[in-house]
């Protein structure tokens, strides 16, 4: 079976610091895959390598069979990456921002319009899209950015902490659109989070990453059963204690 994402014996060094240690995992097509772990565990580094931003020190990473280093240009055409602390051009309006992003993927004006309409539906910001992004709240900005990531219908969406720093209402909204979109459009997603409840709600399978190593992998229900835990938070605590 061909995987959407294949990560094999991935290592990353920052100078002498060994950030990723022989990380290997696969993501099936159409799956929502979660990377969970504490701050500094290596989640963002892994996502940045898959998103072609960083190069591996060793190991192989493929997205739909394409190497993220030698075929980075091709990979960028089918992925969409949402960084954890992403911002947007605050002097552009929400609409102008979406128009800018859409125009980089499609040439035809009608197609651009179609993508923007899709984004409008996803973010639900309605009239506020005419306002400059600088006037948006954090939650509104995140909704705009999620819409930007999904409107282009990527084959793989890489979302780093999609709801970090958002209030309950915005978090729920963002989670719902991610889940609906993935299932509705058969988009493969890799999500990182340290919100275990979020991961449990969204992900088909999760990998637990700790100090640069994957120490556990499976579906949320499998993991809960294995550790006789009522939720992933308990699983996480038990595994980290064992590690």
């Amino acid at each position: 079976m061909d995987f959407a994402v294949e990560v094999e014996r991935l290592n990353k060094f920052y100078g002498k610091f060994h950030a990723l240690k022989d990380v290997s995992f696969n993501v099936n097509s159409g799956e929502i895959y979660g990377l969970i772990g504490p701050n500094g565990a290596g989640k963002t580094t892994t996502l940045r390598i898959i998103a072609t931003l960083l190069s591996p020190s060793s190991g192989v990473v493929k997205v739909f069979g394409m190497d993220v280093v030698s075929e980075a240009d091709k990979v960028r055409r089918i992925i969409s990456y949402l960084p954890e602390e992403a911002g947007a051009y605050k002097y552009l309006t929400g609409y102008e921002y979406l128009n800018f992003m859409a125009s980089l993927y499609v040439r035809d004006k009608a197609e651009v319009k179609e993508l923007i309409e899709e984004a409008e539906l996803i973010c639900g910001l309605n009239g506020r899209l005419k306002d400059r992004i600088g006037t948006y709240s954090k939650g509104m900005l995140r909704r705009l950015l999620v819409a930007r990531s999904l409107m282009i219908r990527p084959k793989l969406a890489i979302l780093d902490e999609p709801t970090a720093g958002l209030d309950v209402i915005h978090s729920q909204y963002v989670r719902r659109i991610i889940k609906d979109y993935a299932k509705g459009h058969n988009v493969t997603m890799i999500i990182s989070s340290h919100n275990m409840l979020e991961v449990e709600y969204l992900c088909d399978r999760v990998a637990l990453i700790h100090e640069g190593k994957i120490i556990l992998e499976g579906s949320p229900s499998e993991l809960k059963n294995k550790f006789s835990a009522s939720n992933l938070e308990e699983v996480f605590s038990k595994v980290v204690e064992l590690a």
Binding site: G15, L53, R76, Y81, A86, Y89, K90, Y91, L92, F100
Partner: protein, 430 residues
């Protein structure tokens, strides 16, 4: 590629023009500054001129001779300022009076002044200039009384010569040798002294280095800001994962920087011109000569080569600025880092103002010729003197330099260093 470039370029320009920091800091503030400066200079210059042409003088005439009366009446008639003539007052009292009544100069004509002159002895006139604020205008206040004394001096000498040798032109005694000066420019003899040629060249080419500096500094600020803003707004990571080549991003940033820099420079130039004309409308008489009057004109080839030199130095400085901004975390640190590049401009600028680089010792020439701006600054003069070989060497060097810097810059843009490199050398966030 073409349309993607346009999409990014449009976004860059829109974003920068809407950013008040850029609009105010780089376009509006310099113009306002120049406006205010020219206003202040206008006021200062006109008050200085007023003080020089119309001094307020107290004359204490102890002598009351025919000659002292000539001095007082010439001052009274030529100045429309206040001139007070007093027969008998001590120096200290006269100064006190000047201070309290706001006079700028006290002139003391001692007893025996006229008599001494009439018998061929030295005579003295004392001038006290009140300096309340130690300013330029005060220093000029005594110039009119002094020039009246000078005029009297030469008239007295002429009179004496006429008495001694009535048949000889007194001017021959005063100035037995006169010089007539010519300049040889580009092999042609011109009936103008070299100082005049130099001042014409300077007055007309002084703009060029200044304009170059303004345009380059502005463009470099725009270029580095455009990269730094992506980092500050946390949009760079997203931008680098889009299906756009890094070279296109670099090119769009280069082009938008050039466009905005030209806009900024044009507005600044108008303000500068206004400032320059308002300042030079006072003071020394201007020389009514142009470069073409003294045979210094740029041929179309010279113009083309100079233009090419300027364009290439602009490209190389922008790419340098972009490259340097990669290391900065935010706009402020980017601008600080780019500030260090100004030294590359200032050093050849200072050198080229005072001397010709080729006349320096070889050990100084080498580092100077490695700086592209040396060619930039020397190019207008080389073009005027039809020294095309120099221009061509400069152009070839700058092409090599720009390609090398472009290569390094694009290498950086393609590598992860664009995200991980930091001037503070902090470990990258994982």
């Amino acid at each position: 590629m073409h349309s993607v470039l346009m999409v990014i370029l449009k976004k860059e320009v829109k974003e920068m023009l809407r950013d008040p920091k850029i609009l105010i800091g780089m376009i509006i503030a310099p113009v306002l500054l120049m406006g205010v400066m020219s206003g202040v200079m206008n006021f200062v210059m006109s008050s200085a001129k007023e003080a020089v042409l119309n001094p307020n003088v107290i004359i204490v005439d102890y002598d009351n001779s025919m000659l002292s009366n000539v001095v007082t009446s010439s001052l009274t008639s030529s100045s429309s300022g206040r001139v007070m003539v007093i027969g008998n007052l001590s120096v200290s009292k006269a100064i006190e009076l000047a201070l309290s009544k706001d006079f700028s100069t006290v002139m003391i004509i001692p007893r025996g002044f006229g008599y001494n002159v009439s018998i061929g002895k030295h005579a003295i006139v004392e001038l006290y200039t009140v300096m309340k604020s130690l300013s330029i205008s005060e220093s000029g206040a005594s110039s009119m009384p002094s020039s009246i004394i000078e005029f009297l001096n030469s008239e007295i000498v002429r009179e004496r010569i006429r008495e001694v040798a009535p048949n000889i032109d007194p001017e021959v005694f005063l100035k037995p040798i006169s010089r007539v000066e010519y300049s040889v420019v580009k092999g042609k003899v011109i009936n103008v002294p070299p100082q005049i040629v130099f001042s014409v060249v300077m007055s007309q080419s002084v703009f060029i280095p200044i304009i170059i500096m303004i345009i380059f500094i502005t463009a470099m600020q725009f270029a580095s800001t455009s990269i730094a803003l992506e980092k500050e707004y946390k949009t760079l990571e997203t931008l680098l994962t889009l299906p756009v080549s890094r070279f296109t991003i670099l090119l769009a940033k280069l082009m938008s920087s050039v466009m905005l820099a030209v806009l900024g420079s044009v507005s600044f130039m108008f303000a500068y011109m206004y400032y320059y004309t308002s300042v030079t409308s006072f003071g020394l008489p201007t020389i009514n000569l142009s470069l073409s009057d003294i045979g210094l004109t740029m041929t179309p080839i010279g113009l083309l080569l100079t233009g090419l030199t300027l364009f290439l130095s602009m490209v190389s400085s922008l790419v340098l600025a972009l490259l340097i901004a990669v290391f900065a975390e935010d706009v402020r640190s980017a601008q600080t880092l780019v500030g260090y590049l100004y030294f590359l401009m200032i050093i050849p600028m200072m050198v080229s103002m005072f001397t010709d680089v080729s006349s320096l010792p070889i050990l100084l020439q080498i580092p100077l010729y490695l700086i592209p701006y040396t060619y930039t600054l020397a190019s207008p003069r080389a073009a005027l003197l039809e020294n095309y070989g120099f221009l061509v060497i400069g152009i070839v060097y700058m092409v090599v330099f720009s390609i090398a810097v472009l290569y390094i810059a694009s290498k950086f843009f393609k590598s992860e260093k664009v995200l991980t490199a930091r001037i503070s050398f902090r470990r990258s966030r994982r």
